[in-house]
């Protein structure tokens, strides 16, 4: 390993970073995750911590750019140079730049996270079967609205699990339109546009207006790349056009004809011979995680290594199961020392039975009561602060509980969170993922909802699971996502734009419901995935944010679950 001349390093251990913009190649959440994992590579072996800032100046400013991107060291188009970074210091020092003429993925081809549909944002599964035909890319087949979609399992015909793929018809990113989709045609400087354009920009990014007239409304956003978008050439980001004509011959798929380097390309209009518009077809792409981990090595003070398997070797190589090479560890620990505290390797989960009777889950029709006799060791590295979206949040016995994938954390009145604890230890009848919960203020019974079922806990005794239809909720309701206690014996149950009032004593929904969430609770997102009451306020959560509403139904705070509730 090598360090920079003078052993440049940060003189503090709490390093901050900020993501200034995003690539159109991947969903923002995947990019956030790739960077967070890249920082964790170094966090695991040093005493350094990395905190993300959303505004202001951070130690490490991360950005994507193309060609001349403002620092005097231009990128070079597709391939070749992938990214660069500056050693620790003030100003541009410590920053990392990624060449957005590359195709950024997780290293194994298009990484397509879906939106909407019924797969809860799962990744596309390629190839997938739809009506007996195998698809390797998102498709608009089977739809009349032109929205590309994919299955999230191998067989749509069997599983019916799907989501929509990124496209300008679904959402935009950046800009000033809060992810609104493009409106086509739109007018820009008096000219009508039927697709995203780079006109009016010098940075090569494709954009569109999100109203019919940019000249009057100035509303715009950047277009996410479809999975069929080409890389580089002279049409970066445009989708392949099939069929297209090249040297008089018709092509219905990508081809290497006409090239000596064997690279696959396609036309982005129907006739290459007349239009000369083309680009390379999407390939495996470069792993943003691996490249970022390398660049972050630079911003922490490591220069290039001459060991081929080291992360800090200057050439890119995809590795599936990445682990930091001993040379990289030696290098970074030369600068910052080893990680203090317990071994960074998390303890292996194990189960110790204090009773010869193994705990069993109740069958769906069972109504039972039992006490757990199993001691589980939970992974302390499971950090509530790393969780973007909780399954459910609710106040139980004056402590706010945060549920996620079989674990929960508690926020005490002192404002510090504890956990994780295992849901299965405290409430063994419950599934790992619950959608909402509430404590009845009169009886102190705790109600849990997961998909179309609910359970009622009284101390260690449990009743359920029972179907939510038993409460008078509609049979086609997929889940209850939130609950707010309203006076004694009444609870509002939420799902998207509707809510119902439950008479807890009668165990039935009151007449006159559902009502519209948007009408009764103006100003909160109607697609909240968690709704709960805490200290007299109503909280509506969407992604990592919450909207807090006071008893006069005024939204008085919009903030982060992580920072403002969990105090991360």
């Amino acid at each position: 390993y090598q360090t920079f001349a003078g052993d440049l390093k940060w003189n503090h251990k709490d390093v901050t970073y900020r993501i200034l913009n995003y690539s159109p190649d991947m969903e923002a959440s995947l990019i956030d995750d790739a960077f967070a994992r890249a920082f964790k590579v170094w966090n695991d072996v040093t005493p350094l911590t990395f905190t993300r800032l959303y505004e202001g100046t951070a130690d490490i400013m991360i950005s994507f750019g193309k060609a001349d991107h403002g620092d005097g060291y231009p990128f070079d188009g597709t391939d070749g140079l992938l990214a660069h970074a500056y050693p620790p210091g003030e100003g541009i020092q410590g920053d990392a730049h990624f060449d957005d003429d590359e195709y950024w993925t997780l290293g194994t081809g298009p990484a397509i996270q879906t939106r909407y549909g019924n797969a809860d944002g799962a990744m596309c599964h390629f190839p997938f079967l739809f009506e007996g035909i195998s698809y390797k890319t998102c498709t608009t087949e089977g739809r009349t609205d032109g929205l590309p979609w994919c299955a999230t399992t191998a067989d749509y015909d069997k599983d019916n699990k799907f989501g929509f793929c990124p496209s300008e018809l679904l959402f935009t990113f950046g800009g000033n339109s809060n992810e609104a989709p493009c409106v086509f045609p739109f007018v820009f400087q008096g000219v009508k546009y039927d697709s995203c354009t780079t006109d009016g920009r010098t940075d090569g990014y494709r954009w569109c207006a999100t109203t019919a007239n940019f000249d009057t409304d100035s509303q715009y956003g950047f277009c996410p790349n479809r999975d069929t978008a080409v890389i580089g050439g002279n049409s970066d980001g445009e989708p392949c056009q099939f069929p297209f004509i090249f040297l008089g011959k018709t092509y219905t798929s990508c081809t290497s004809d006409g090239r000596g380097d064997g690279k696959l390309w396609c036309g982005t209009t129907s006739n290459y011979d007349t239009d000369k518009k083309w680009g390379f077809c999407p390939d495996r792409g470069y792993s943003l995680f691996l490249v970022a981990a390398h660049e972050f090595g630079h911003v922490l003070g490591l220069d290039h290594s001459n060991i081929k398997d080291a992360l800090m070797y200057p050439m890119y190589k995809y590795v599936e199961d990445f682990s930091l090479h001993s040379d990289d560890i030696k290098g970074i620990q030369y600068l910052y020392g080893p990680k203090t505290g317990p071994d960074p390797t998390p303890p292996q989960p194990k189960t110790t039975n204090s009773s010869p009777i193994m705990p069993t889950r109740p069958t769906p029709s069972e109504t039972t009561a039992f006490v757990s006799t199993t001691t589980h060791v939970v992974d302390p590295s499971q950090d509530a602060c790393e969780i973007k979206e909780f399954d459910a949040i609710t106040e139980i016995q004056k402590e706010l509980h945060f549920f996620k994938d079989g674990h929960y954390w508690k926020l005490s009145s002192t404002g510090k969170h504890k956990g994780p604890f295992l849901v299965s230890e405290k409430w063994p009848a419950l599934p790992a993922v619950i959608n909402t919960a509430f404590e009845d203020q009169l009886t102190k019974k705790i109600y849990f909802f997961a998909e179309k079922q609910f359970w009622v806990y009284t101390g260690n005794e449990v009743l359920g699971p029972r179907r939510i239809e038993k409460l008078g909720l509609p049979s086609n309701l997929e889940r209850v996502v939130g609950a707010i206690q309203r006076g004694k014996g009444k609870v509002l149950l939420f799902n998207g734009e509707n809510f119902w009032r439950l008479d807890v004593k009668a165990q039935l929904i009151d007449r006159g419901y559902p009502q519209f969430t948007g009408s009764a609770f103006g100003g909160v997102p109607i697609d909240s995935h968690d709704v709960f009451m805490y200290k007299g306020f109503f909280y509506f959560c969407r992604e990592s944010f919450f909207w807090r509403m006071n008893s006069r139904k005024q939204v008085d705070q919009v903030a982060y679950v992580k920072y403002n509730l969990l105090k991360c």
């Binding site: 580089g232 002279n234 004809d257 006409g258 090239r259 083309w278 660049e295 290039h304 890119y316």
Partner: protein, 89 residues
């Protein structure tokens, strides 16, 4: 049908930067990543410095140190990589 196919190669617009010769590519690479700059500052002749620069590059990348622009070195130069120069003043 067993006649060899006659390939037609096209210069694609926007792709010309990739059409440089191996020597041009090597020259740009050695400058971009710091191998030539350092040596030129030491006042050596460019013809010598290219060979020395190549040796330095080959050492840095774990290649056989021939000092000539062989296939392995050219292939290495065509690999995707980090833009931080390997050698700086």
């Amino acid at each position: 049908w067993c006649l060899p196919l006659k390939s037609v190669y096209v210069t694609f617009p926007g792709d010309v930067i990739k059409k440089m010769t191996d020597i041009q590519l090597a020259d740009e690479y050695l400058k971009r990543y710091g191998y030539i700059d350092v040596l030129q500052k030491s006042g050596m002749q460019s013809v010598i410095s290219t060979s020395k620069a190549l040796k330095k590059l080959q050492k840095h990348l774990g290649l056989q140190e021939t000092g000539t622009l062989d296939k392995r070195t050219i292939d290495a130069m065509k690999q995707p990589r980090c833009g931080v120069p390997d050698i700086r003043n």
